[in-house]
Every structure is written in C-alpha cells, then in structure tokens.
C-alpha cells in the first residue's frame, strides 16, 4: 500500500472515531469502547476492500458485512455515513425516538446494514448462511463478519464456526475485534478464552493474527484470506478497547458509559490531536 493511501485510511479511522463520538454526544448514549477498537478495521473494509455501491445498497453482487457485535454501531453508522450510504446529518438521530438509527445494527431502516444484530453470538451464523447462499447461487461476493472477543463466549459462535470450517466456506472472512475487555471486566477475568488461534484452527479456520490498528496489516490479512481457498477465514485483530482516548483505553467501564461534558471535551481534544 502506498504511503498516501495508508495515511488516507488512517485519517478515515480517526474521522470515524470523531464522528462516532459526536453521535454519542448528541444521543447521550452509545457504546464507545468497542467501536473505537474497530475504527481502522472499518476504514480498511469500507474505504479500501469491500465491493459496495453506496448509491445502490441492495446491489446483488456486493460484499456483505455482518456486525455480529451489534452494539458497535458507533463505528458502523459513522462509517456508512462517511462512505455515502446516507447523509452524515442523519447520525444526529442515533438512538432517538423519532430516528431510524437504533442502538444496535438494523438492516430494515439503515442503508448499508446487511443484517440486524444485537443479541450476541447470532450475527456470525447469519454471515455463514450468506456465505453458503453465495456459494450455492454462484455469487462471487465476500461475506465479512465482525466478532467481539467477549462475544465468542456465546456457544452459537462455535456452532457456526464448526459449520464454516467443515464446509470450507472460503468466501467468509471473520474478523475478531480482540480488545481483551468485555462489559464486566477483562476477558481474562470473566471467562478466559485461552489460545484463540489454536481454537480457531482446530475448528478448521484459516487463521491469521495481526495488529488491528495497523491499516497495512489489516489490508494484507484480507488479501491473504481472499487468496487462500478451501478454508473459511479468521483474522484475530489485536486491538485496544477505547483506542485513542487515554482515559478510556483498556477500561471496561467505557463499554457503554456516556462521558460527561468534561470527558467529552478531553476525548475530542485527544482525537483532534491525532491528525
């Protein structure tokens, strides 16, 4: 990737964070931590890798993305708006009673959302179903799924992975937002998920591990996944929950908490200083 392109994607990631934070300020609620860990991943997917047409969100040959960790709308909605699926202005209606942007990802009312999610563990199965449907119909799209590292404590994730692995769904690229923190504490404290790479590989997944805040590494991992046939893909993206705001980084308290005025000021100042 050229340096100029790299800078463009890095800037996009920071713009996604800032836009998301503004959205949360307006809504007075929203999940910041697990959205900020995802920003570079979203930037690379929507601004570099995904085959999409914002003016035709239901285009049949588009790549699909299922945000299985459906609470990370603070990353998804700003990304879709900045990519042109709907006006950025609409983000002001996030979580409002007269708005269409509900707290968790919703396919019915939001252009560009391929699956409604929110109840953890369910979205990945839908992505597996889409990948299987694409194979069956000869649609050459790629189906992306974004999973949380807390979310994979849900049993359904492993049912879906067993299926994807056994059937070698090589058009399925799962990305694990491995930010090490869940609502009540760290993943290690709550339910240690152990050696993830070994687990995923034993389920038949072609597994890579990367720095989830490095746009080059994210892009390369996606390329490698797409070049590797006969196996479904898992990219473990090591990330930091609340990335970019010093007092939020790595803190489970910022899973779903809304900052106060002073905290918002500081958070914006820190994000602003990044680019």
């Amino acid at each position: 990737m050229e340096t100029q392109r790299q800078k463009y994607l890095e800037d996009k990631a920071w713009e996604i964070r800032k836009t998301g934070l503004e959205m949360v300020r307006e809504a007075k609620s929203g999940h910041i931590g697990g959205a900020f860990s995802l920003s570079e991943i979203m930037a690379v997917l929507y601004f570099e890798k995904m085959k999409i047409a914002p003016e035709n969100p239901k285009w049949e040959l588009r790549d699909r993305l299922v945000l299985s960790k459906g609470h990370a709308t603070v990353a998804l909605y700003p990304t879709l708006a900045l990519r042109g699926f709907f006006p950025v202005e609409r983000l002001k209606t996030f979580r409002k009673i007269d708005g269409s942007l509900s707290g968790h990802a919703e396919m019915r009312n939001v252009e560009g959302v391929d699956m409604s999610t929110g109840s953890l563990g369910q979205g990945f199965s839908a992505a597996v179903g889409m990948a299987q449907a694409a194979k069956m119909t000869g649609n050459e799209c790629t189906v992306y799924a974004i999973l949380g590292d807390g979310e994979i404590q849900e049993g359904q994730i492993w049912e879906a992975m067993m299926y994807a692995g056994a059937h070698g769904l090589d058009n399925l690229v799962a990305i694990l937002d491995c930010n090490k923190v869940q609502l009540d504490g760290t993943v290690k404290e709550i339910l240690d998920t152990g050696d993830l790479k070994a687990k995923f590989e034993s389920f038949g997944m072609h597994t890579q591990r990367i720095d989830g805040h490095n746009v080059q590494e994210i892009a390369r991992a996606i390329d490698v996944a797409k070049e590797t046939r006969q196996k479904a893909h898992m990219i473990i993206a090591d990330t930091i929950k609340g990335k970019g705001v010093s007092f939020m980084e790595g803190k489970n308290q910022w899973h779903g908490k809304t900052p106060n005025d002073a905290e918002f000021e500081q958070a914006f100042a820190e994000l602003e200083a990044r680019n």
């Binding site: 199965s125 597996v128 179903g129 990948a131």
Partner: protein, 312 residues
Amino acid sequence: MKGKISTRDVYGDTLKEIGADEKVVVLDADVSTCTMSCMFGEAYPERFFNVGIAEANMVGMAAGMAAFGLKPFVSSFAMFIAGRTFDQIRNSVAYPGLNVKLIGTHAGLIVGEDGATHQCLEDMALMRSIPGMVVICPADGNETKQAVLTLNKYEGPAYLRIGRAAVETVTDFEAYSFEIGKAVEMRQGSDLTVIACGIAVSKALEAADILAGEGVRTRVLNMHTIKPIDREAVIAAAQETGAIVTAEEHNVMGGLGSAVGEVVGECCPVPVLKVGTQDTFGRSGNADQLLEMYGISTGAIIEKAREALRLK
C-alpha cells in the same frame, strides 16, 4: 387424501413439490429422516443443508440465507425450534422481518414414548408472542399440504406446527379452502362453538356428533391459523352461539384458547372454556393414553361443552 395420514410425510412430500421453486432451500439439524425434510434433500441435494445438531446456528444461517434472497424452510422438532431457538427466531428472523419458514414437527404429547423433554406444549405460545409471526397448526395431512404451499407464497416469518403420529383426514371435502387467518367452518351450529386446531379438530367433530344426539347443535371451527386469529369468526361464534370451548394439544396458557379468549374478552364476553394440557409437563406413554390422561379427548371436549352450556 383420505384416512389416517402422517402430516410429516405430507410435509416432506410437499417440500419436494415446492422445490421446483429454485429459491427454496431447506435446513435441518440431524433429524431430517424424522421431520421428513430428507425427501427434499434427496430431490435437491444442492439446496439441502443438514447443519448437524446445532439449531441456533441453523436458524441464524436461515436468516442470512433469507437476507440473501432465498426462501429457507427450517425444520426440527418443535421443542428444539420454538423452544431452543426462541431468541434467534425473535432477533435474527422476526425483528428484521426475514422470509424464513420454521417448521416444528413432533409437537405436543403425541410424540409419546420419548417423554416430556420432547413434548413441546408451549411452542404456539412462544411463537404467538413474537410480533409479525404467523402461527399455523393444521388439522390433517391435506391441510398440512395446503399450508406448506401457501407459506411458500407468503412473504415473511411463519411457524408451522405438525405432529409425529398419523391423523385422520377431516378436511377432504368440496367446499374446503385454505387461507392464512381464515377459520374453516367444519360443522354449523347455534348452541355452542368448539374452536379447535391440529389433532383436536377430529376430536371436536366426534364431540359435536355425540352432542347432536343430546340435541345440542355444535358449531365446529377449525382454527388452523392461531395468529393472526380469525377475529371475525370468533366474534360471530360468540354472538351467535353464546358459548365457546377451545381444544388444542398444547398448554391452555398462551395458545389457541388464550388467543380466542383475548378476542372474546375484548369484543363480546361469553364463557370460553379451554381443553388442553393444564399447565403441566407430559410424560412417557403411548400417544392415545397420553391424550386421554391429559384430557385432550372427545370426552373432555363434551364435558367442557356441557359446562359451557350451563354458564350461558
């Protein structure tokens, strides 16, 4: 169709028939030779997905396939569809309004010897509580076929409940037609109405015959669609006959009886007595013994009918 016919055989056969529609895909969770979805699998192996013993993933995959524009029919035992995957059905299928058809076979007591863990008596209550969900419980093989053919044309989430045992054909008559949300009047009558679904319809007809001998003119409605309930038919029954007995192979809480009671309570209060399991689990035993023990029988309907007439 005549005589005793297994509804799941009809289900498998009809699935094969709608398989001519290339958008139809069928998913099963290692019970396809029991649900009979295997018949579709033999005819269209490329559109048949046996996901293993993993119902939650099956329903989620079906949601993804529907979002992709396909028409999934998902089968397993009622217990493991409606019970085990309630959250997946609610959030992955019904909330986004996806076109997934859920078929719960081996419903109710008549699964028999396998016992309480496999006798789902709560599925209609669970499915009925989900916004936008259509709930259908056919009376016999003929109606099962009509329901599957109709559901293939209907766009949106729906639950179809069928049993394990062969059931007497009761809908094979000239004037019969199947429409979602439209009750079938099986007998005319003005003294009392029995509203039944599933295997209870044939018992309701037997009860009506016996009651006729006592001079009681019993209307019998086959309420194959539990949701949306045929309000018009229920209101007419209440107004014109003044007493109602409901009959279902399901807990009296939350199923057909409750659905009828809701309409009657709101629109034209008359006695509504409910035949069904009385808030209890089943047990092992053969189907007929179980139905007798738990009071889903011709005798139980007659008893409730007499009680309802006294309350008029």
